[in-house]
């Protein structure tokens, strides 16, 4: 179990680069390339306006990813709480003076980029939880008094995100947080009880929902009832997907998406465009790539020798996969439309950067899997 070579924690840059986990980088690039192709098609066979910017951002983000991966995990460990606090402050700033976009306040305009702090907050929450549970003993994991404070890391940001209001992101943070607590070893009965309580509180949640959120749920339940109104998106998306068939309509031949029957084809509905043009084959190919990324991420977590790294990499992978599931399930009409992009594929600066930062951290866990982290705070 104690591999002497691996125990050497002082790696040179070169060694770190060797141990980076290039397979993961390759998978990430491949998925991103699918995004470029889809954006090229979405613009009617044009690199402008989306594909070019997306490539630019990806390349910048990729460099960032590698730098983050090379930074010692100990540094990230120490920076965890400061990052969380900065993220939290940014969220408050958005709440106070953020710009309004799509009926919800989510952006901070930094001049060169419109930053969406909630995207980074998801990472910060996972980091904070990983750190909190890093040194926990099994006894502590069973004590409510130890577990309850961890909820602060979840519900402080969720409260702010809900105020924006952004139900989708709030739910995702909650789900990622719950997954973290589960992975850290909290007793199973907690989750069962929590699940039951959630189900019971659904009607109450309905009462507090915004009209547009209620409408989305209604639309989800019965999309065809209002084909030109709120159900339009789902119906058109299903038509686009369904008409793709096994082999798809061919690259640049996706009639539904490119003829503007499909709304927001370059962002939330990019998967629809992809699967319309490339059919079941293309859709399954993309899902398989995503699956490989999950497996790779889980393998990294498994191989990590410190709890922080295990929880961090696993939490980030869960976070990533939640994005993937919610987006794809949404465009296929399995869940209500919540406005979540498909990570690495959808057009969008913040999302792309946040996802790459996340992968940077995962790879940092990989590079520094044998590092020794303090057991106690």
């Amino acid at each position: 179990m104690f591999d002497t070579v691996r125990l050497n924690t002082d790696q040179s840059i070169f060694q770190k680069l060797q141990n980076l986990g290039w397979g993961m980088v390759f998978l990430v690039c491949l998925v991103a390339c699918i995004g470029f192709a889809a954006l090229y098609s979405a613009a009617g066979g044009n690199i402008e306006p989306w594909a070019s910017k997306q490539i630019e951002r990806f390349l910048v983000g990729l460099v960032g990813l590698i730098i983050i991966a090379l930074i010692d995990i100990k540094i990230w460990y120490r920076l965890t709480y400061p990052i969380f606090i900065i993220g939290f402050i940014l969220l408050i700033i958005v709440e106070v003076m953020g710009h309004t976009g799509m009926g919800a306040q989510r952006w901070i305009d930094l001049g060169f980029i419109q930053l969406q702090p909630s995207e980074f907050m998801k990472i910060a929450v996972v980091m904070a939880l990983a750190r909190y549970f890093h040194a926990a003993s099994q006894e502590e994991m069973r004590s409510i008094r130890f577990l309850l404070p961890s909820l602060i890391f979840i519900f402080l940001p969720v409260g702010l995100v809900l105020l924006q209001p952004d139900l989708g992101t709030s739910l995702m943070i909650v789900m990622a947080g719950v997954a973290m607590i589960f992975l850290a070893g909290a007793p199973i009965w907690l989750f069962i009880t929590g699940g039951v309580l959630t189900a019971v509180s659904m009607p109450v949640a309905w009462y507090f929902m915004h009209d547009y959120q209620k409408q989305r749920v209604r639309t989800f339940l019965e999309p065809e009832s209002d084909p030109l109104g709120a159900g339009y998106h789902i119906t058109q998306s299903k038509i686009a997907l369904g008409s793709g068939g096994i082999e798809g309509k061919g690259f640049l031949q996706g009639t539904q998406s490119r003829l503007n029957f499909l709304p927001e084809k370059q962002t939330d509905f990019i998967f629809t465009l992809w699967a319309e043009e490339w059919g079941l084959m293309g859709g399954l190919f993309l899902l398989t790539l995503m699956g490989l990324i999950f497996i790779y991420g889980i393998a990294i977590a498994w191989n990590c020798r410190h709890a922080f790294g295990r929880l961090l990499s696993m939490g980030l992978i869960v976070n990533f996969s939640l994005y993937v599931f919610i987006n794809i399930a949404m465009v296929m009409g399995l869940i209500p439309i919540v406005g979540a992009p498909l990570p690495l594929v959808s057009y969008g600066g913040t999302s792309m950067l946040a996802v790459l930062v996340g992968f940077g951290l995962i790879l940092s866990c990989n590079v520094h899997r044998d590092s020794k982290l303090p057991r106690m705070q």
Partner: protein, 622 residues
């Protein structure tokens, strides 16, 4: 350390559980994708195509109609019209209002357009007006920016260069009515016209052509993005008629001085109809350009029924032109020979009834040929009583009377040749011998059309071939008429004696139509006059000295003449009916003379129907 080891194991387990959830979620997504794209793919594909494909039909050009020399009788002219897409006009009424200053357009028509617009989707173009002149097109073109939603569209309009002269034969086209819709897509084209009467109607299927279509990909707003597929339209086929347009015009012209008349000129050997006129005529162009209410009223209220093609649908008692049938029937059953004579005393007594010959004093002793020449009634009264109505009717039917030929114009009518059985069936009464006697001279129940009389005459003088009349010689280059007609099997000597009689009618000084003989050598005609009684002048009127000429128009006799020329080797046949025109020899024979003379001068039989090249025309898009 131990604690950490346990936690590591617990994490590995729990990470595996999370991984399993992820795997399941991916499987669900993959399954959902497969369900949408495989199981429901077909349904969604259809929905997708409906979303994006707009099918635009391309109108075919209607086939032209030409005469035997290739002279156009029905052609397609350019038609400029204004279309408006209500959706694109901010205010439909205001937009249309602007037209009034530019072209001939008024409030009434604005209302009509608005009415039509209410019935269709707002993105469907509506015809505002058509038949614009170049001048009008230019005016609209210049002001198009000021006329939101309007566009100028170039289509086709049917034109009939010979106008009234060919109105009945060619017919006209009109809008597709609901009853015409049979699922053929071309019929649903906006402004598409189909044949309503004449050749336009009966050969509509050939001239219609097949609509092409263009599949246009449209975006969510219906704007065309690109063309996907084009299925080229096929223009209608050209119809080449047996008609000689100039002769037709002459014929119509010749009848124009009468209130109501009709004539047929045909080829006794081939059955080709060279001309077929019906007076009064009408201009079919009225119908394609849009007939006004007044014009329509005028056509409908005219007692002479201008829209009827009387040459084929007018049914008249044939009068004395029927006598050839009675004579031939008697010859064939052997009750008479060419030499059989009858003494005409001016009246014929049958039982208690007396039947008068038209000549009060009688004709004296006559054989068949001379009875025809003088049109003696008594001779045929006598023969008919011997052979009976059924024998006469059988002969008449063999000569094409009382039946339809399946002629190229659907307005054709059958006429009537009565038999004993027919009367029993129709009236439930026994046939009276006296009815046979009036039938013998083409009166009573007998009815025939001018076309039938021409056919009868053709069969008499062509050596006994059962020729049938036709108008359509070719559809494109496909021949539509037979080379030969079956023989009827009538003895030549019988036919010769009838022909001799008909020759004498015109060319013998004693003949009833001597005044109308053709003197040009080699062009002489033969024929038979007929004067068909419409109202019997009763005894009281006769006593008061009332003559037919004194009666009101609608009670006067019909004047008939059937003729052929030249007498040596006859070819052309003519039949003329002047409704309530008076006597056949005085009124109908002179017309026949002119027609046969003109026909022989033009001699249309000398050349076959000329097939001009079928020109490929550019396709038009509607």
């Amino acid at each position: 350390m131990n604690n950490q080891g346990d936690r590591s194991k617990s994490f590995t387990r729990r990470a595996f559980i999370v991984g399993a959830f992820q795997g399941m979620a991916l499987a669900v997504l993959g399954g959902r994708l497969a369900w949408l794209q495989l199981a429901e793919g077909g349904r969604y594909k259809t929905l997708s195509d409906k979303n994006r494909i707009n099918i635009k039909m391309i109108a075919p050009s209607r086939g032209e109609i030409v005469d035997r020399f290739g002279v156009p009788l029905a052609i397609n002219n350019q038609n400029f019209r204004i279309l408006i897409i209500p959706e694109q006009a901010d205010d439909l009424e205001k937009s249309l209002q602007k037209l009034t200053g530019l072209i001939d357009f008024d409030d009434r028509r604005i209302k009509l357009v608005i009415e039509v617009s209410k019935k269709s989707a707002s993105f469907v173009p509506i015809e505002v007006t058509d038949n614009l002149s170049w001048n009008e097109v230019a005016k609209i073109e210049v002001n198009l920016d000021d006329l939101p939603g309007m566009s100028i569209d170039e289509g086709e309009i049917r034109n009939y260069p010979f106008a009234e002269a060919t109105g009945h034969v060619i017919g006209y086209v009109g809008a597709v009515s609901k009853a015409d819709l049979n699922g053929e897509p071309v019929l649903t084209l906006p402004g598409f016209k189909i044949g309503k009467t004449g050749v336009e109607k009966s050969y509509d299927q050939y001239m219609r052509g097949r609509a092409g279509n263009k599949q246009m990909e449209v975006n969510v707003r219906g704007r065309e993005i690109r063309e996907l597929e084009e299925d080229v339209s096929r223009d209608g086929q050209r119809i080449s008629l047996s008609i000689d347009a100039e002769l037709q015009r002459y014929c119509q012209q010749r009848l124009s001085e009468y209130k109501s008349a009709s004539a047929v000129i045909m080829d006794s050997y081939t059955g080709a109809v060279y001309a077929m006129a019906s007076q009064p005529g009408f201009d079919p162009n009225l119908f394609t350009k849009g007939i006004s209410a007044e014009q329509w009223e005028e056509l409908m209220s005219n007692p002479a029924f201008p829209l009827n093609n009387k040459a084929i649908s007018g049914q008249y008692p044939p009068g004395s032109t029927f006598k050839m049938m009675t004579a031939l029937a008697a010859l064939e059953v052997g009750n008479a020979t060419p030499k059989t004579t009858v003494n005409c005393t001016g009246r014929y007594e049958f039982g208690k009834d007396k039947f008068h010959c038209w000549k009060l004093g009688g004709h004296g002793l006559l054989n068949v040929a001379n009875a025809l020449m003088k049109s003696c009634d008594t001779y045929f009264y006598k023969l008919s009583t011997e052979i009976g109505i059924d024998t006469i009717a059988a002969m008449a039917r063999r000569f094409g009377l009382g039946e339809k030929y399946g002629f190229d114009l659907s307005e054709e009518r059958a006429g009537l040749i009565p038999t004993k059985e027919w009367k029993m069936g129709k009236y439930g009464k026994v046939w009276q011998p006296g009815e046979t006697i009036v039938s013998a001279i083409g009166q009573g129940y007998i009815l025939s059309t001018p076309l039938q009389l021409a056919v009868m005459t053709s069969r008499l003088i062509n050596g006994g071939s059962a020729v049938k009349p036709w108008l359509v010689g070719y559809i494109d280059d496909k021949k539509m008429y037979p080379d030969e007609w079956p023989k009827m099997g009538i003895k030549k000597s019988y036919l010769d004696v009838i022909k001799k009689g008909m020759d004498r009618v015109v060319n013998s000084k004693e003949g009833t139509a001597y005044g109308s003989r053709i003197e040009a050598e080699g062009m002489e005609m033969g024929g038979k006059t007929g004067t068909a009684q419409v109202k019997k002048i009763n005894r009281a009127e006769r006593a008061r000295g009332i003559m037919n000429e004194d009666l009101v128009w609608k009670y006067r006799h019909h004047a008939l003449f059937v003729g052929y020329a030249p007498v040596e080797s006859p070819r052309y046949v003519v039949s003329v009916v002047v409704e309530h025109g008076g006597g056949g020899s005085a009124v109908a024979a002179p017309i026949a003379k002119d027609l046969l003379l003109e026909t022989q001068k033009r001699n249309p039989a000398a050349s076959d129907i000329k097939l001009s090249n079928v020109i490929e025309r550019p396709k038009r898009h509607v």
